[in-house]
């Protein structure tokens, strides 16, 4: 009886500490993308002090300020979807950008999610003509592959992608995945 009384709280404690996130179906991955506009306008610089971060991005404020030198971070949009391994999902982003995320497999040994990430920009006119053979045609404009990367992301982790210019700044994407 005494052993049970001592062991029970210990077991409960271990269960609390080691409890995994709510289980998904084995082949499902939750992918979330948050779009951020980063800028360094003169009016921002005049305000001095630390960079302004949109309250909707409070969870990323510390990271954004530490990693980048922009003075203003504005929340643009967010998207979240569930997909299967091997099934790509597409997020429509501001200013004709789109992000295609294809989880390929779960790396069992280290618990990372292996995925192919493609950032596409739909362009008009003749820009990118030289790379036409690599581009996929789409009605209303051509699609340029701005970035294609294969990554292994820790389960539940986040990676930041960014750099493409948008109106008044650059686009930053916070890509998270949990399987």
């Amino acid at each position: 009886m005494r052993r049970v009384a001592i062991a029970l709280p210990v077991i409960m404690l271990l269960m609390v500490l080691l409890a995994p996130a709510p289980a998904l179906a084995k082949d499902e991955v939750i992918v979330e993308v948050i779009s951020i506009a980063a800028s360094s306008g003169d009016e921002d610089a005049e305000s001095g002090g630390e960079a302004f971060v949109d309250p909707k991005l409070s969870g990323y404020a510390k990271k954004l300020r530490a990693l980048f030198a922009y003075t203003k971070y504005t929340f643009l949009a967010s998207g979240r979807t569930e997909t299967d391994f091997g099934s790509p999902c597409t997020f429509q982003l501001p200013e004709r950008f789109s992000l295609i995320v294809e989880p390929e497999r779960m790396e069992e040994s280290e618990g990372r999610i292996e995925m192919m990430v493609t950032l596409v920009h739909e362009v008009e006119g003749e820009r990118g003509e030289a790379h036409r053979e690599r581009e996929e045609g789409r009605q209303g404009g051509r699609q340029e592959i701005v970035l294609r990367t294969k990554i292994r992301l820790g389960n539940g982790g986040t990676v930041l992608l960014g750099g493409p210019p948008i109106e008044g700044g650059v686009l930053i994407l916070a890509l998270s995945a949990r399987g």
Binding site: R2, A5, I6, P9, V10, M12, L13, V16, L17, A38, S40, K62, K63, A66, L67, F68, A69, Y70, T71, E110, G111, R112, L119, H121, R127, G128, A130, H131, R134, E135, E144, I145, V146, L147, R148, T149, K150, I151, R152, L153, G154, N155, G156, G157, T158, V159, L160, L161, G162, G163, P164, P165, V170
Partner: protein, 184 residues
């Protein structure tokens, strides 16, 4: 042996037979027996039993047994007393054991509550982020662009631990200059 009902005198009948009453009480019993049929009948029953018992021969007991009987009886009574003391001692010892068990249980429950409180209270402050540190680990196996004017790179910072994949656009960044994105 059936006692005579309703007669207080009947309690003296056995002593009356054994000649153990004082003179005054004996005269009272004599007077009562003359008028109470129930007590007289009970007295007859007692006398009959007495006669039967006296008729039974005494068991043969050796003289040396009588000599040690008092000592043996004393030792047996002492042993009874010791056993009673041991039982009381065991009961006294059981109390601290129960108290210790209860204290341990309370201490364990208190420690558990303290750990849960610390986790709940300090978790939002990020003190346990290192437990989940590998969540943000990101290995970049390949990185490329198919658009002119972009230069893709990636870097991983330690604090905060985060991997950043960046496509430097010539028209915005003026090329890769080794500084943080956004630096002017």
């Amino acid at each position: 042996m059936k006692m005579a009902k309703g007669c207080r005198i009947s309690r003296y009948l056995t002593a009356y037979v054994d000649n153990e009453l004082d003179e005054r009480t004996r005269r009272r019993v004599d007077g009562h027996l003359a008028s109470c049929a129930d007590c007289a009948s009970e007295l007859d029953s007692i006398l009959a039993s007495d006669r039967i018992l006296r008729a039974v021969p005494k068991p043969a007991v050796a003289d040396d047994r009588w000599a040690t009987f008092r000592v043996d009886l004393s030792q047996a009574l002492d042993e009874v007393d010791r056993e009673a003391r041991r039982k009381r001692a065991r009961v006294r010892e059981a109390r601290p054991v129960y108290g210790t068990y209860r204290r341990r249980a309370l201490a364990t429950a208190g420690a558990f509550a303290a750990v849960v409180f610390v986790a709940v209270a300090l978790g939002p402050l990020g003190l346990f982020d290192q437990w989940n540190r590998n969540a943000n680990e990101c290995v970049v196996d390949s990185i490329e662009t198919f658009s002119a004017g972009y230069t893709p790179m990636f870097f991983t910072s330690e604090d905060p631990e985060m991997t950043v994949i960046w496509v430097f656009a010539d028209e915005v960044e003026g090329g890769v200059n080794g500084e943080r994105p956004g630096a002017r």
